[in-house]
């Protein structure tokens, strides 16, 4: 876009109505304001205004990545299968991966992320500890065949990402690269104008040691996170953990009476048991049986809580967690389905939620059909082998840091930083010659920012009922000049626009002949440039109106005053 772009020559068709298939605010507004155009599910064209915003975000990301010593490269998007087969991801990605064959029948994929290829690149380019550390980044188009691509450019199948990768010879080096990225991301998201939180994330099956997500709270978000209203704690719901010690401190084993067996026929579920006894579900202990790498394990949680199998899986990874089936009870008289209690489970590993801390007393199965027991006390009647926080987090759960009731909020993941460790460097045997003359296995971090997603996330956070409302640094222009009238106003608008352009501002000037001031105002508010300058009824006197798109504040100024204000 030239420094001064005339609306009469800009390819933009604004719409008054929301597109029928749009669910989220950003999707509606980016289409209505002419920023993007849909080509297929999750596949979008960036029209002139959209391309400008996308490029502005990329520029900010690039500047801050350069600032921490990142070196920009560009890897292919079309990749041969071999590296992803070596890492196992050719299979693991399942339907999420776009796969294709070339004319010779060779297998290829469209890269969803590039850990494998960066590892190979560094193996090829770096041979000595002197060549490290290195931070490489690219701003690239990536591909994931999402099952339900939706929300416009928020979750596309073809999307723009900044991905970077750090390579170090020591864990301390990795920690430093991680810290550099964390600081750079804070600068980037602040410059982009985001309201965001950094939350700890479950490191997942990748086996990394530290991982945080950058979340932009927004109603359209697909992620849920917990947020403490009292302290600075925030986390991915799967990453919330608090300690059994903290809970145990509030209880005293000595205060409980002895175990009493209860006759509870036909009460194999918590609901039937609680109803039969007339107690709240929270007084009961639910024991879920699962198989961990084929071995039966019991998981105890308060009866009113659900086990988060995803969270359990993350805690136990790389072990595989499965639900038990009827066949697993064959030859196991110690496991009485529906009436399991931890006090009789001598041959079974017992994992419990921290809420089942020492000193807490429960109504639970008596390990006999139709029987339960009360006053079953943790630390007296049974021992917990491992405390793991595996329940689904609920609004009001205590903050692990300060105990205040947590809030649950929706957010868009805009960034992710991850101490990946040696998973990929092991796969590709990436060693460099160490200072002692021996090969050293390299350790790796991986860091992502959703660049096209950031366009939608910023639209979500900043839009109002009139339309888009961009933060200054990424807006498609600095000022939108509107000629609200005929020849006189148009002449003045173009003159002011040219002066602002000459002063280095990026200007959009609406000089469209035959378009009413009302339509121009509506379009200006929809398009969302931060400052709107109107050449209207006092144009003959050289007086214009300067309006702030966000606050709606407006004031009349002479042309010179307005230019001075905008270029200050």
């Amino acid at each position: 876009m030239a420094q001064v772009q005339r609306m009469s020559r800009l390819m933009v068709k604004t719409l008054r109505d929301d597109p029928a298939d749009a669910e989220t605010l950003s999707h509606k507004l980016l289409v209505r304001a002419g920023y993007v155009r849909r080509n297929a599910a999750g596949i979008w064209t960036w029209l002139p205004l959209g391309k400008k915003v996308l490029e502005n975000i990329a520029r900010v990301v690039r500047e801050e990545m350069d600032e921490i010593g990142g070196q920009e490269v560009l890897l292919p998007a079309l990749l041969p299968k071999d590296a992803y087969e070596a890492s196992g991801r050719w299979e693991e990605y399942g339907d999420l991966l776009f796969r294709l064959k070339d004319r010779k029948g060779g297998d290829y994929l469209l890269g969803p992320t590039h850990e494998e290829i960066f590892t190979q690149t560094v193996k090829d380019q770096c041979t000595s500890y002197k060549d490290l550390p290195v931070i490489l980044y690219q701003i690239q188009i990536k591909y994931r065949d999402e099952a339900r691509p939706r929300s416009g450019v928020l979750r596309g199948r073809e999307f723009h990402m900044k991905d970077s990768y750090s390579f170090d010879t020591t864990d301390e080096g990795l920690a430093e690269a991680y810290a550099l990225h964390r600081a750079a991301y804070q600068k980037i998201f602040t410059r982009l104008g985001f309201d965001y939180r950094i939350v700890s994330a479950v490191s997942g099956a990748m086996g990394g040691s530290a991982s945080e997500e950058f979340l932009a709270p927004a109603a359209a978000g697909e992620d849920t996170f917990v947020d403490c209203p009292a302290c600075d704690y925030a986390a991915n719901t799967e990453a919330v953990t608090f300690s059994a010690e903290a809970v145990a401190a509030a209880y005293d084993i000595a205060e409980h009476g002895p175990v009493v067996e209860l006759d509870t026929p036909d009460t194999p579920t918590i609901e039937t048991l609680a109803a039969h006894l007339g107690v709240p579900a929270s007084a009961t202990l639910k024991n879920l049986l699962v198989k961990v790498d084929g071995e039966i394990v019991a998981v105890g949680v308060p009866g009113d809580r659900e086990v988060d199998l995803g969270k359990l899986g993350e805690h136990l990874a790389p072990a595989v967690v499965e639900l038990v089936t009827a066949e697993d009870f064959v030859g196991r008289p110690d496991l009485v389905r529906g009436y399991v209690g931890p006090q009789g489970l001598e041959k079974v590993r017992y994992i419990a939620d921290p809420r089942v801390a020492d000193g807490t007393a429960w109504i639970t199965g008596a390990n006999k059909p139709g029987k339960h027991a009360k006053n079953v006390v943790a630390g007296r009647d049974f021992d917990v082998d491992d405390y793991l926080d595996v329940v689904v987090v609920e609004e009001g759960d205590p903050c692990p840091q300060c105990g205040t009731g947590l809030k649950l909020d929706r957010a868009i993941e805009i960034g992710h930083i991850f101490q990946l460790g040696r998973k990929y460097t092991d796969t590709f045997q990436l060693d460099v010659l160490g200072q002692q003359g021996k090969p050293v296995r390299v350790t790796m971090g991986s860091y992502g920012i959703g660049v096209s997603r950031a366009v939608a996330a910023l639209a979500e956070q900043s839009a109002d009922d009139k339309g888009l409302c961009w933060p200054a640094e990424i807006a498609p222009a600095d000022v939108h000049v509107v000629a609200a009238g005929k020849a006189l106003q148009t002449e003045l608008a173009v003159e002011v626009a040219d002066k602002l352009g000459a002063a280095g501002l990026r200007v959009l000037v609406d000089e469209r002949p035959g378009v009413s001031p009302g339509v121009k105002f509506t379009d200006a508010e929809l398009i969302g440039v931060p400052k709107i300058l109107v050449a209207g009824r006092r144009s003959a006197e050289g007086v214009v109106e300067l309006k702030d798109r966000r606050t709606g504040e407006r004031e009349e100024l002479t042309v010179d005053e307005a230019i001075a204000r905008l270029t200050a």
Copy 2:
């Protein structure tokens, strides 16, 4: 890359030997100097230095496209089949197209060029003559599954292109958009430092009215073009045409004797005929039979020349040209295989090369087995239905403009401009409301620059035996500072580099500890930054050496003089 990039922190591994699979100079040098890395046949990674050059080229292209009012957009690379099926190119592209399916079984392709999608975009965004003209461009990664991807990034399967498209309501508008592009391309290729020619190109099956190619002469080029050493004529070999009138002017029908039949047994080929008669092949007339849309047509050319079937196909498009087979002679006693002459071909359309002009006399088939005829004169004994220039051009052929013997040269196609007309707007019924209130069919131009190819083409044209040698505007840095010595030289080199960086220059500084001055010099020449500044033996006096990479000229200067010289 930061303004000042230290070599010790740059990911670059230079190689002393050419990669085994490299054929062209640019392929060898771009790999050896650490600009690119091969991932698969025709699929490349742009390493930090390469990314910089690629980006510099893209910036120049972008600036000049903006200058002619081009609006930058970005279309998807992953595209649903439908638009390409509508245009016929889903089939026409054959194996050149990467095709794939998504998780729902839908057919997709990786875009090789985007005429279809731009036409759809404009149909969606522009509804009135007031919305036109419009020039849209993108700098995008494109995909073509080349049969023999080779020559490094010169002909990749994943490659970067600037493609632009103009949309106008009138032919005059299209001509203007074409002229704007032509001028912009001249500026671009001049700024990039190219030696280039603009040649007329065959418009091809697309049916456009005007088309020119921008060719960069280079030994590694895959295109051959003709170049007149005397005048400004240059053309794609398939586009060379000269007129039969010009040839006829040199001949006089009246000077020839009557036709004489010759007994020429077993001479069905030109070689056997010329040997039998003891005449040069150029004295004979070769008549090739082909089928044009199923109808047999004869094509006459001098016996020493070859028919260029590609050229013939281009001339006759959209008709389909095929070679005849034995079956085509069934029931055609007028066609005597090996002994065809135009003087007896009353039922067959006769196309001839302009060299078979009126007044020229030939030895040709007598339309009887084993018989030929001499003194068969064009314009007397037979008539030519259409003169088409269909022979393979040869060195020394007369220039169609001035008659001088043409030169044949190899070149790399770096740009192509094309008045496409209404082929795609007809397919997609792209009309806008005209000034008279009636729909007007839009006319279209398409224009391309190979951005990644330009990196290789510039390398080809500018490299010397020491390595790469970039034109200033696209070099990865403005100056390469070499610390040729120990602590003192390194300190001075870094100090000068920082000063140059502060003055706005892009600086590469080689301060690698433990690397000899010889290795640093060799690397600097291989990497090819235009200016090399050496802090060497006179560093203590504050004297450095400034060397021009291309000319090798060097002079000793004080640090201040060197900085003043470089920042001038």
